[in-house]
């Protein structure tokens, strides 16, 4: 992508100017086929088929994401089909996830459905993550 390959994919601390960045909102009837790339926050209430790189990702109840997600904070109340690489993960009770969740800290509400593993990774894994690992079954 456009980002230089030397830059780690995930920040483990919020960017100093991150709070000023406006939030992107993808409404219910919104569908993206492709890559989302941002240093700010994205709220998905519609469909995203493809990869998401962001600082904070919120997937609402009606949201559906299919593809790899690389973020610092992930808060999911909708459906995700794919791998999640997130430093902090919060799953709401309506979350429905198929795939692996690579995380450092996690909060899972009662009722959340996870099909797949939730591997814990140390801090430096996220700090040095430059390329996603191969997706093996």
């Amino acid at each position: 992508m456009s980002a230089s390959p030397r830059r780690p994919l995930i920040r483990t601390l919020p960017a100093a100017d991150g709070a000023q960045l406006p939030v992107s909102l993808l409404g219910k009837a919104f569908t993206v086929r492709g890559t989302l790339d941002t240093d700010g926050e994205v709220h998905v209430y519609g469909n995203v088929l493809g990869r998401i790189n962001a600082d904070v990702l919120v997937v609402g109840y009606d949201g559906y994401v299919e593809g790899d997600v690389v973020v610092r904070d992930a808060r999911i109340a909708g459906r995700l089909n794919g791998r999640l690489f997130a430093f902090n993960v919060t799953l709401d009770s309506s979350a429905d996830i198929t795939g692996r969740i690579f995380h450092h800290t996690a909060e899972v509400a009662k009722g959340a459905r996870i099909e797949g593993r939730m591997p814990w990774r140390p801090l430096n894994y996220f700090q040095t993550l430059e390329q996603l690992p191969e997706n093996r079954p």
């Binding site: 219910k28 009837a29 993206v32 240093d39 209430y45």
Partner: protein, 179 residues
């Protein structure tokens, strides 16, 4: 029940040391604060929200196709086609690809095509490509490099946004079948 309670009391006695052991590790307050902050707009109930427009903020770059059956406010960068109903392209926005919709209001840059019933090019608009319209407004200062043709709706319109099933419906169906 009483046995249960006594047993609990007993086990809790040796466990009294537990709080020392599980003393909170180095706190990560910044992270949790941010998490809570982002939690604010979260619909916990799952109740369908009122129709809301989509906003692509200036920091967001999308590579690929975008489509919506609602309004879109674009301030970021899109490499690919956009299909929507009412599309507003902000002054910092950049689209490399075609934009199809009912109404397109352009204040930013489009490199591609516009195909819409009503097209508004504001004074900061930068349009490189053809405009197919039925009704066009061009403000003084707008840049156009391309043809303007009032042919919208005259030819077969296969590029208009498809009406797709909202996810909520699919989800309800899935929940019903799983119960």
């Amino acid at each position: 029940m009483t046995t249960m309670f006594t047993r609990n009391d007993k086990t809790s006695d040796p466990g009294a040391k537990a709080p020392e052991k599980t003393e909170p590790p180095a706190p990560v307050p910044v992270e949790t604060k941010r998490l809570q902050a982002s939690a604010q707009p979260m619909p916990y109930t799952g109740a369908s929200q009122a129709v809301m427009a989509s906003v692509i903020s200036k920091a967001l770059k999308i590579t690929g196709q975008v489509e919506s059956t609602e309004d879109i406010q674009l301030d970021g960068q899109i490499d690919g086609d956009v299909r929507g109903v009412s599309i507003k392209v902000g002054s910092n926005a950049k689209v490399k690809g075609s934009v199809y919709g009912e109404t397109v209001e352009l204040a930013g840059t489009i490199e591609g095509k516009i195909e819409a019933k009503k097209v508004v090019l504001t004074r900061s608009a930068h349009m490189s490509g053809d405009v197919i319209h039925q009704d066009i407004t061009i403000e003084s200062g707008a840049f156009i490099d391309g043809h303007c043709r009032p042919e919208f709706g005259k030819t077969e319109n296969k590029n208009m946004p498809p009406v797709h099933k909202p996810v909520a419906v699919a989800r309800e169906a899935a929940e019903k079948s799983s119960v």
